[in-house]
Amino acid sequence: MGLLFLNAFKGLKFKKVQMIGIIFCIILSTSIYTAMNTALDRMEDRYHNYLKEQNVEDFSFIPKIDYAKDYTKEEIEELKKNELKDIPAQQMNLVNQYQMTIGIENIPNIDNLYKAIEYIFNNNGANDKKLEGKMAETKQKYDFNYTKETVKVSTHDKYLYKSIPYTGSETINVPYVVEGRLPEKDNEITVLPAFANKNDIKLNDKYTIGETEYTIVGFVNSPNHIFPLISINRPMYNEKTDNIMYMNEATFEAFSGVKESSYIAAFNDREKTMEFETLGDLFMNDENISLNPLTALKLLRVNSLEAEIATSRLFSEYFLYLLLGISIFVIIVITKKRIEDERLQIGVLKSLGYKSLSIAVSYLVYPIIGSLIGGVIGYGIGVLAHEPLTNMYVSYFNLPIEGFKINLTYLFNSTILPLILLSVLAFLIAIFMLRKKPLQLLKEGSNLKVNLLSRFVTFVTRKFPFKTRFKLSLASRSLGKLAIVTLTSFCTGLLIVLVLIGMNMFESMISKTFDGLDFKNSVSYQAARTDTSEVDDLIYNTSIDLIKVKRENGTIEEVDLNKKQNNNRMMMKKSENNEEEKEAIKKMSVTMNGIDTVTHYITIKDKEGNDLLGKLKDENDIIINKNISEIINVTTGDTLIFENADKEYEFTIVGIQDSFMGNQAYCMRNYISTLFEDTVSYNAKYTSDPKYDNMSNIPEDEMNAITSVFSIGDLKDNMGNQFESSNGAIYFVIAFASVLALVIILVIANIIVEENKKTISLMKVMGYKNKVISQIVLNIYTPFVVIAYLLSIPAMKAILTEIVKALTKDMELAIPIEFSIIKALAGLVGLLVAYYFAIFISRKSLDKIPLSIALKRE
């Protein structure tokens, strides 16, 4: 057996191209696998300790204050003199209104007032004393500690800042100093290390925001912002423009921005972590607290890294398997070819008494050498390449990292795993091929079989020109090689199409999302306002439950979301017997936007691009978006019945907006606002007033009434920048896919030349030129490559559609999957370039075949 193995090993130098092809595939797969996992190890190892050491919050809660019962008029009076003494006049009016309602029952539309009061009280610490009394029992019951977190968010030019006051006594979300120190004096601030890096900021530099100059004393990570999603209004993190700053309390008070306060808590048992839904269940029936919906955002900031790590690990594993799968195919073809070539020798060996097992083992030289060399080199490259990958992760996720540690598991998976996988399969193929009796192997011409496909092709092409018939006959003779080339082209096509659809998907999402949004900023207010504007679009937003549908023929159906999307996840419980749950899915929560029929910025269009605003004529007319129409299967003419505070409201659909975000509906502002307010009101506006570009330009009393300022321009730029920077990754994937295709096709072309040496030599003897021979013998797979690529387009579209459906089933989002013809052609060109380049290289070996081979007897 050893001598047979030695013979195979010595023969490797004559199969360089094939060997290099296998080694390359293994290097590629193992290097990417090792690099990614090593980078992820460095992050993951640190991540869990970081969360414990910095005591990162586990959730945010809202104190359950029953505003109808918990406060007395006297208590409110005390608050007005103390915690609420500095609130703006408009807010004070609301407090006064609230004070007057104490002790009165069944006041209509009181919930909106309570919501506003809750916001005002929480933001100004008015609930703190009330809460203290309730919390003593609660925190013992669930074993957590809590604190109140107050931050300010502001925008200046393109920059987004979150400022956090630093007292030195933080017990939850303890800041992590990377370099420098935390602020002590006034106007000292810290910045994120990534922000400092991107803006070329050094310690002790001066930094100006608005009119104020600050001194940067430290580079500090905010531990509950591992993914620094500073504001829901700007969901795409930009290292250059988004920053979190720590400052002392005085500096914080003076800092101009929208104040956000929330109660945050951390379990004493630091091993305890819970999913958002589990937390919701935990506090569902608690008398004193309920889970703050913002917890989802907060958990995203902390947990998204975990998801990213899990996804990346999965990707690296599947990538490893994919490339190993391709290597397996190549090895199968090579093994098969070797056995076919050596059938006479094998026949004699079997005659002499060698068993198939002994002979089969000698063919393991390819997988063994390929795995060991490819695996070791791949592991080495992966270890070297992990550093830039780690830096890329770390710049995006703000997390200090561990030093590099060798992980022999990856060396094992890079060498032994491919070794075992490839060897077992090569062995099985060899055993199968060696099943023939010695006499069958020794019979001349026994290797010249014609398969069914070949016969079919011969029949179909009998009237074709000679060259075409010959090419197709050669291509169809070996199903194995044909399968590999087709499969490789198909997989490469899938990758290319995925990337091109991905690029198109995001571009399309951006344009469809922002289509019709010509304003610069969206401003939301805590409470309804009654002033008017000639230049801004005033909107009254409210959340309302859709409960029934009345069809044009008069039939009334209840909304039933048992098998469909329900975006009110907070109401969903796990118990199947729960009545609340059953009722919850009989409603769809819709964001009703009350707008004016004459707008400056808002346009609402249907799929064909027709303007729909003009169709809003009556107070009961409504425009819904595509999400709603598809989920509950309604169309123009149907009537929707909504419910709020036990009252029902009917609206008739006059148009369907071609939009993919959320459950959005539009009706007349002067009608909807008067259902919930005393007079025509608004609580949000779309504006291009430049004062909202910089929060420091907004008057203080208005600032205190604002809930958020959302810059459309910034969001659009941010999304565009994000997708631009990921274009680098996209081009890498396309290049990688093309190189992979090149290598595989090169190996196959090499095998084809070897296999057809005699035919090629004969054609040379007959007088064919090398160029013509190359066209006939090598250029045989072009139609299959093209067909495989074309098939990959609908295949990837179908795969992506299912993936997107699964991803977005719990989100208020639909993502269009579109693919342009130009991009399809570009992808095909990329693949064909790789293919023809491989053919060109293989021509060299074809040119070397001497004429004398034609004369040799096999």
Partner: protein
Amino acid sequence: MEEKKTILKLENVYKTYMQGGTKTHALNNIDLDIKSGEIVVILGPSGAGKTTLLNVLSGLDSPTSGRILFDGKDIAKYSQMKLTKFRKENLGFIFQTYNLLEHLNVKENVMVGAKLGKSKDNVDEIIEVVGLSNHKKKYMHELSGGEQQRVSIARALAKKPSIMFADEPTGALDEKTGKIVLRTLIEANEKLGTTMIIVTHNPGIAKIGDRVLHVNSGVIDKEIINETRMAPEEIPWG
């Protein structure tokens, strides 16, 4: 003269196979004894059934009916695994095309055969028998056709088979080289006592054997006993 022992015996052997819808009777009622140590030449024109007879004798092919007895055991009833073991322990083969392993040298190719035998330390002796002691480290592409054929003989002899089957061993060689190969076979037979069964269409080669079986249309129509064997160098060629 001592009566030589029968080593291989065929009884009522028939071999029939289908070829393109036509039934071909390759062997018809063959009865045959092969004695230990003898050189038997199977002679006949192309298509006579000589190679079929050799394949059936050696267990490479199975008869349609009849018995093939080796040391009293009917190998026609053996399974494939048992036949492989039987060939390993008892038989050697050489063919018209040498089918050597091109990436191993002379000695290594012979060792491929030796590894199947009980003793592996006779490789140099065998290489000497075939007259290639000076070529041990050479590779196949460095040898002539005759030398390659001698390597294949050495490979087959290295495991000390009881019987050596040679199917047209000189078919691809010129007269001079062919005679050298035949000399090698004779010497192997004389020095090692290996029974030789040689298939050929060359009537000159028949003179080197103890017995000549003339095969025509699947039957042995003539059996000639050579009183004395002619030296390979003296036989007429062609």
